[in-house]
Symmetry: C2
Subunit: 364 residues, 2 copies
């Protein structure tokens, strides 16, 4: 896949069956849930035998009557028929669980496209590659990086549009959601906003982008730079989806590469207030510092590459999923008090405050 | 190449011919020069037709009577005969210059091993792969990452030995040299010190390691973690070669991944005092801050992952190559005054101060 192809949008006519076997909930099926939130019209069914029989909305709280089915046979019997199987969950490590082989084999045999964000490229799997060739099916490994990426040199600084990057206190706290919601709200206000996807879910939603965490380390900043430059034409604001967290021992380098490649002029800091430590049992020794400290460390890390103007966190996006509305309001107030910045939960209370903070920078 | 193989030492019996055609000097043939400095007993000849006839020491100022020859035929006539051809220069872009094909072909036909740190893997080249198989020759692409690397989870914290990482104000300021010199000096003092190589030159010198900048971004911290864990047994001190710089817009993420994967308890900060901006014309907008600020930003970035004890820069290694001895002494004094830390140029004035600073931490 060339750089150009990586940025080629989907046709918008795909009808997905989303594989989320054994894991279809908002916590574990992040890709599935985000796709259903932002592109419900493209999803014809979800596969999860442990939740089969329920509609999607029963599990997620949104997504309407999209059915959850026990197996692919049932999905293939739907009218209109699906055109693609999309892998909607991310197994630990990113490899292909052996248990998924039969359903993938069946999908390819049925002539469906396969859309995958796994680290392990399905198109490189001898069995699937051979089968896909025989059946004329296409395998899209959206994490597969484009060839010929450069080393980052700060070229992104030269865009006319304002560069905004979502960053986080941790993985999986809402950086993609904040970016998408901000773009939508800016567009509602008539601001020409471009979204730049940097992870598999964002790419599956937007149909283009580069999964920067799958890029060889030397070229991650360059990949981010290229994404910004290709998203920039005609945009007043370029909102880039962030990845990882500077305080995540496994992924901090990806985050920093992205920051120094995107060269944002403003950051939106995303957090899940209920989380006290980096997520996942392996990281319970890493405490998430108070939010004002996190603001400062992100601003400092941008300052290392000495832009002309200091780069500031413009607003806070709180992910209060699982908390009561009263708790949510309190967490948001607490975040505002601690940081002196506007805060909201863009899903629960809308993204006006995020858009206000960004448009204020345009007026300057 | 499996992870295990990546970490398998050379036998120590290799006798290298070092290819440095047209570029054998300290500036351009960094790999060749470092190999000759640290493993002169393994180098039987250097190939550079533009400098043929001189001994190596005439060009580098060290390396004794190792001959510079015009072509491989002459090297093959030496007694004892060489066992391997090692690529000692890094061409722009990391690809294979077409002009090198004949000498590589001849080496493989003569049954020599080939050791390469190029970005382009010679073992994947159809011509060389076929030829090597026919002749039973082995091609070692030392940048090729091992398979199955994990995501970093901070496991390196659990080594008994003290973890030390060299870091820098920029690329190419002496992080490899500082690490190797520190290890040598510790061993002279009877401290069991392990060296862990993270780049192609270090790997070619030590015969093992992982070129972390060639690893997919999500797994760089995990690669560093694995390197530390495999280097740890029996070591009182594990000294890891650093890469890049936190203030280098292209490579900062590699540096941070390495830091959070290695989980060093002490840092050795390397700098080239004569350099005011990040090296290379593309980066002249990035000023290198005063050294005390660089110390602080490295310490801060370790603090983000909340180890029990703060991680401190223990000493400064100044690369004063190209400056007069008087200038060098002044730069070192200035570094000491500015940071309050011991500083030296390990090549020019020895690495006692570095070793003192590290052994002081062992006594605590």
């Amino acid at each position: 896949m060339s750089a150009h192809e990586a940025l080629r949008p989907m046709t918008g006519r795909e009808r997905y069956v989303v594989l989320a076997e054994g894991a279809f909930d908002a916590e574990w099926a992040k890709t599935a849930a985000s796709l259903i939130r932002y592109r419900p019209e493209r999803v014809v069914a979800v596969l999860d035998s442990t939740r089969a029989g329920y509609p999607v909305s029963e599990i997620l709280g949104f997504g309407g009557a999209i059915p959850i089915l026990a197996n692919l046979d049932e999905a293939l019997a739907l009218e209109p028929t699906p055109t693609a199987l999309l892998i909607g969950i991310a197994p630990q490590g990113g490899g292909l669980p052996e248990a998924w082989r039969p359903v993938l084999r069946m999908a390819i045999e049925a002539g469906l496209e396969v859309w995958s964000g796994l680290h392990a490229f399905l198109g490189d799997d001898p069995e699937f590659a051979r089968l896909a060739e025989e059946r004329g099916a296409v395998i899209h490994d959206v994490r597969k990086p484009p060839k010929g990426l450069p080393v980052g040199t700060g070229l992104a600084r030269e865009t006319r549009g304002l560069r905004v990057l979502s960053v986080g206190t941790d993985c999986n706290v809402g950086k993609l959601t904040a970016a998408l919601e901000l773009v939508d709200e800016l567009e509602r206000r008539g601001v020409r906003a471009a979204f730049a996807a940097t992870g598999q879910t964002g790419i599956l939603i937007d149909g283009k982008g580069i999964a920067v965490d799958a890029v060889v380390a030397d070229f991650v900043a360059g990949a981010a730079e290229r994404l910004v430059l290709e998203s920039a034409p005609g945009a007043d604001v370029i909102v880039v989806e962030g990845q990882g967290s500077l305080i995540h021992p496994g992924y901090s380098g990806v985050t920093l590469s992205l920051m120094h490649g995107v060269m944002p002029q403003a950051l939106v800091l995303c957090t899940k207030p209920a989380r006290t430590h980096i997520y996942g049992g392996e990281y319970d020794w890493v405490e998430i510092p108070p939010l004002d400290e996190v603001v400062r460390l992100y601003e400092d890390a941008m300052d290392w590459v000495s832009l002309e103007e200091p780069v500031l966190v413009a607003a806070i996006a709180c992910n209060t999923h699982g908390q009561s509305e009263e708790q949510a309001r309190q967490e948001i107030l607490r975040a505002e008090k601690l940081t002196g910045l506007p805060a909201t939960d863009p899903i629960r209370f809308g993204s006006s405050k995020l858009a206000d903070a960004i448009t204020a920078l345009l007026d300057v």
